[in-house]
Symmetry: C2
Subunit: 268 residues, 2 copies
C-alpha cells in the first residue's frame, strides 16, 4: 500500500537531540510556498515524534516568521518543562539557519472528567447532500481535500460587496485518511482569510500566528476515522493590517474536536 500524500508531507527524520529534518511537499503548495496548515502539522509532528513526549497535544501555537521556500527544513522541538501530567514545548523551524517558524505546544495526560460543549454544531445538511469544490484556483493544496461548502464559500464575484464573514463547510483529506492530531492541525488552517469573504475584494493576506486547542484524545480521533469534519469560521476585528478569525471543528457525530484562532496580515 502506498503512503498517503499527507504522511509523505509530514514525514520527519530524526537528526540529533531535539532536531528533525523534513521538506516541503509539492502536493501541498500554496500560491507562495506551502499551505500553512501542513507547516503547522510538521511543527507539531516534531513534538509527536520526540522521544521525551508526555501525553497528547492540548494546545499548539505556531507563528509564521517567514515564507518557507520549497525544499528542506529543520524543526527543533524541546521540552522546556515537564510536569507530572503536562509538558511545555518550544518549537522552531529553520531554513539555511534562519528561523521561519516559532511555536509552543502543551501536551498532557488527559483524564476522565465532567465535560460539555458550549459551542454546538449547527444544524447543517450532511456532506452527501452537498457538492464538492472542484475549482482549485490553481492552488495545489486545495486538491488534497474534499471540501463541501455549506455557507460562506469563496466569493464568486470580487465586486467589493460587504458580506458576513461566516463560513461553514464539510472537509476531509482526499483521498480519505484516518484523522490524527497532525491532519486535524492542518484542517484547523483550512479556512481562507475572512477578509476575502468580508469584502469580496482581493487583498494580499497571510496567517502570521495560529493557535489550536484540541478537545479530544487520540482514541476519539481514531473513532472519527476518515469521516468528514464540519468547520465553522468567523472574523472578529480588522484593523491596521491585521485581522483575527476563530473557528470550531466537529466530527460527523457532532463531537467538538478542536477550536482555533488566528491572526492574519492583510495589505490594504
Amino acid at each position: 500500500m502506498s503512503k498517503h500524500v499527507f504522511d509523505e508531507a509530514i514525514a520527519l527524520t530524526p537528526a540529533g537531540p531535539d532536531l528533525f529534518r523534513g521538506r516541503t511537499h509539492p502536493g501541498y503548495g500554496n500560491m507562495v510556498g506551502p499551505f500553512g496548515g501542513v507547516t503547522a502539522a510538521q511543527a507539531l509532528q516534531a513534538v509527536l515524534l520526540h522521544p521525551d513526549l508526555l501525553g497528547e497535544p492540548v494546545s499548539l501555537t505556531v507563528n509564521y516568521a517567514a515564507a518557507l521556500a520549497d525544499g528542506p527544513f529543520e524543526v527543533k522541538a524541546h521540552a522546556a518543562r515537564t510536569n507530572r501530567s503536562t509538558q511545555h514545548w518550544q518549537i522552531e523551524m529553520l531554513q539555511d539557519g534562519a528561523v521561519t517558524l516559532t511555536g509552543t505546544a502543551l501536551t498532557a495526560l488527559r483524564r476522565d472528567t465532567w465535560g460539555t460543549d458550549d459551542v454546538r454544531m449547527p444544524q447543517v445538511p450532511p456532506p452527501g447532500e452537498l457538492a464538492r469544490v472542484t475549482r482549485h484556483g490553481g492552488v495545489e493544496w486545495v486538491k488534497r481535500y474534499d471540501a463541501r461548502p455549506i455557507t460562506g464559500s469563496f466569493p464568486e464575484v470580487w465586486d467589493g460587496s460587504e458580506n458576513e464573514a461566516l463560513s461553514r463547510l464539510w472537509m476531509r483529506d482526499e483521498p480519505a485518511r484516518a484523522l490524527d492530531f497532525a491532519s486535524l492541525t492542518a484542517m484547523a488552517d483550512f479556512f481562507f482569510p475572512r477578509i476575502w469573504l468580508r469584502r469580496a475584494r482581493h487583498t494580499p493576506a497571510g496567517t502570521v500566528s495560529i493557535t489550536v486547542y484540541f478537545h479530544v484524545g487520540a482514541q476519539q480521533l481514531r473513532d472519527t476515522g476518515s469521516g468528514y469534519l464540519m468547520g465553522q469560521a468567523a472574523g472578529q476585528g480588522y484593523h491596521n493590517g491585521f485581522f483575527d478569525q476563530t473557528a470550531q471543528i466537529w466530527n460527523e457525530a457532532g463531537l467538538l474536536l478542536a477550536t482555533t484562532s488566528q491572526i492574519v496580515y492583510y495589505k490594504e
Copy 2:
C-alpha cells in the same frame, strides 16, 4: 507622585543581552502565586523594553509551565526573526534556573488600512449605573481592579446548577491608570474560569495558555486613557481536564481593543 502599583508590578531591570529581572508583587497575589494576567504582562514587558523592538504588539501567547513562587524571576526575550515590518519574539520566564513560562509574540509596524469589527460591543448599561464588586474572596489582585459586572458574575451560590458561561463586565485599574499594552494584557486574563460559572461548582482550575490579539496601536490605547473597558467572555469546549474560553475587550467608545482565548486546566 508615587508609582502606580501596576507599574511597580511590571518593573523589569535589564540584566544582560535578552535578559531582564523582575519579581512577583504582593499586590497582585492570587490564591496560589501571582495573578496570571500580570505574569503575562511581565512577559510582554520584556519585549516592550527590549532595545531591538520593532513596532507594537499584535499577538502574544504565553504558556504557564509552572506556578510562580513569590519572589524574583528572570525573563528572557529574544527576537528570533526580524522582517521589514514584523518581528517574532520568543519569551521564557525562569525561577532558580527552571522554566516557569514560555511564550511567543509578534510585533509589527502597523499601517493605515481598511478596517471594521465583526464582533460589536453589545448594548450594556454604562459603568456609572452599575455596582462595583466589593467582595474579593480574600484574593489580593481582585482589589487592584474596579470591576462592575453586567451579567454572568461570580456564582452567588455553589449549588451545582448549570448556567450559561457568558460574562460581561466593565473593568479598569484601581486606582485608575492610563491604558497601555501591559495593562490590556493583564485585563485579557481578568475573566475567571468559565467552568465555575458553567457548573456553579468549585473545581480547581488554572489557565495553562493564553493568546491575546491586539487590534489597536499605542495611540488608541492612550486615547482610551483611564476609562473603563467592557469585557465579554464565553466558554467553548470542556473535555478531559481542559476547557477553552474566548473574550473580547472594547473601550467605552465601543472600539475593539483586543480579542483573546485561553485554555484552562480543571480537575474534575
